[in-house]
Every structure is written in C-alpha cells, then in structure tokens.
C-alpha cells in the first residue's frame, strides 16, 4: 500500500443524511418537533438548509430539507 493516509485512499465522504420533503401546511417548527421532539430546535434545520432557505418562515411543499 503506497498511501497510508486514509482520507487520501478513499473518495470524499459521501453526503448522507436524513431528508424530509415539505408537505403542505408544514412549518420548520412542526418538522423540528417531528424529528427532535422540540419545535424550538427549528433553527438547526434552518441552518442546515441555508443554501435553499432564506427565511425560516418561508418553506414550500416539495422542498427537500436536510434534517441534521
């Protein structure tokens, strides 16, 4: 084995996670409650999806959110 660096020997870490498709009427708080049991943790979902969400109060049906 020429390369002893485990990160160099492997491809970049695959992007795995839990994902949720937004349904009509859902809010980030409701989604946070579903996955975390606590709606106040919606900010964690918002932070993880800042690439597609600009405002935590504006989510749309069909959006696929990463649930960290």
């Amino acid at each position: 084995m020429a390369d002893k660096d485990s990160t160099a020997a492997a491809p970049a870490a695959a992007a795995v996670g839990q994902f949720h498709e937004v349904q009509k009427g859902e809010t980030l708080g409701r989604i946070a409650e579903k996955y975390y049991g606590d709606p106040s943790l919606y900010k964690d979902i918002f932070e993880a999806n800042k690439d597609i969400l600009k405002d935590p109060n504006k989510i749309f049906p069909g959006q696929k959110l990463r649930i960290p």
């Binding site: 990160t7 020997a9 492997a10 491809p11 795995v16 996670g17 996955y35 049991g37 990463r66 960290p68």
Partner: protein, 200 residues
C-alpha cells in the same frame, strides 16, 4: 554337486546381487527427490498455510505417500512420482502470492468503500445526538443514551481502524471499520435516523 547345479546357484546369487545394486543406486536419487520436495514446501509453507491451505495439504499428503514408498524401499515409485509432487510444491509460493494479491485487492476495495462512507455517517449521527441533547422532549422511540454509547464506541473504533490502515494492517483496518459501521448503524437506529444519500 553337478556343474549345472553350481551354475544355477551362482546365477541366483548374481541376480540377487544385481537387484540389490539396482535398489541401492535408486535409493540416493529417491532420497534427494524427497529432500527437494521438502525444501520447496518449507520455503512456501508460511504463506501457503495462510492463503492456499488446501493446496498445501494436498502436496503434503503426496509427499507423505512418497515417503511411505521410500520406507518400503520402493525407490522407483518415489523417483517416478517425485517430479509431479516437486512441481506442485514449487507452485505453492506462486499460488499463495496470487491468492494474497486477490485478498489484498478485495480488502482495499472494502476499505475504500468504508473510508468513503463512514465519516459521513458518523458526522450525521453526531450532529443528531448534539441536537437531540438540547431537546426538551425526545421523540417517541428515540434512545439517546444508547445512541451516545454506540457513537462513542464507533468513534473510538474508527480511530483504531485508521491507525491500523496507517500501519499497513489492511485486514485489521477493514475488520475494525466493519465494527464501526455496525456501531454507527446501531446509533442511527436508536435515534430513528434513516440515513440516505443526498437527493440530486
């Protein structure tokens, strides 16, 4: 005693002498042939016993048969059978090397897959553990304590797997990485965390 009878006795003694001489002349090459086979087996046995044990056992069994013939003074059988056994013995090293290469390639592929996926899985589990640790009320069915324990085990094992890989111990690296995966899967299950690849 008649001349004819004395000649007959002489002929019998001469025949036995010739047979004994022939046997004696075959004993040395037979012994050398067995020694050559033993030497070939000895040189390859360490790797052969690990990678081609069945092939090694077959050659050893054939050598035992030759030794048996030698013990019965059937040197001709030894000399006749030895070349094939020697050839098989000499092939052990190459067969073991080929099998070793095959195993190393399979292990390398396993490692590449595990090293590519496990860090992402561990990150995802840790992220969920951190968030749930702040939750005022955990969702039904989530066992945070169990997940934390499994994650701690998985993280420790992952460090061990990477160290084994760095030390060129691919077998241990892959074996430990598989243990990491089992622990990470257990943690994800305890969190009801269904990990999937990111949607395109």
């Amino acid at each position: 005693m008649s001349l004819k009878r004395r000649f007959g006795q002489f002929a019998a003694v001469a025949f036995v002498g010739l047979v004994l001489a022939a046997c004696a002349s075959q004993k040395e090459p037979a012994a050398a042939a067995i020694s050559g086979i033993e030497s070939a087996i000895s040189g390859a046995s360490a790797e052969a016993s690990k990678y081609v044990p069945d092939q090694l056992a077959d050659v050893q069994s054939k050598l035992a048969a030759l030794k048996d013939s030698f013990a019965k003074q059937d040197y001709k059988a030894v000399i006749t059978g030895a070349p094939a056994v020697l050839s098989a013995a000499q092939g052990l090293a190459a067969a073991a090397a080929a099998k070793k290469d095959e195993i190393v390639k399979a292990l390398s592929d396993d490692w590449t897959g595990l090293a590519g996926s496990l860090p992402g899985v561990l990150d995802a589990v840790k992220s969920r553990v951190d968030i749930l640790s702040k939750s005022k009320k955990l969702p039904a069915g989530v066992d945070l304590a169990s997940a934390k324990a499994s994650l701690a085990d998985a993280s420790g094992l992952w460090d061990k797997a990477k160290a084994a890989f760095a030390a060129n111990n691919l077998e241990e690296a892959v074996s430990t990485a598989k243990d990491v995966k089992a622990k990470a899967d257990a943690a994800a299950s305890a969190l009801k965390l269904n990990l999937t690849p990111a949607p395109k």
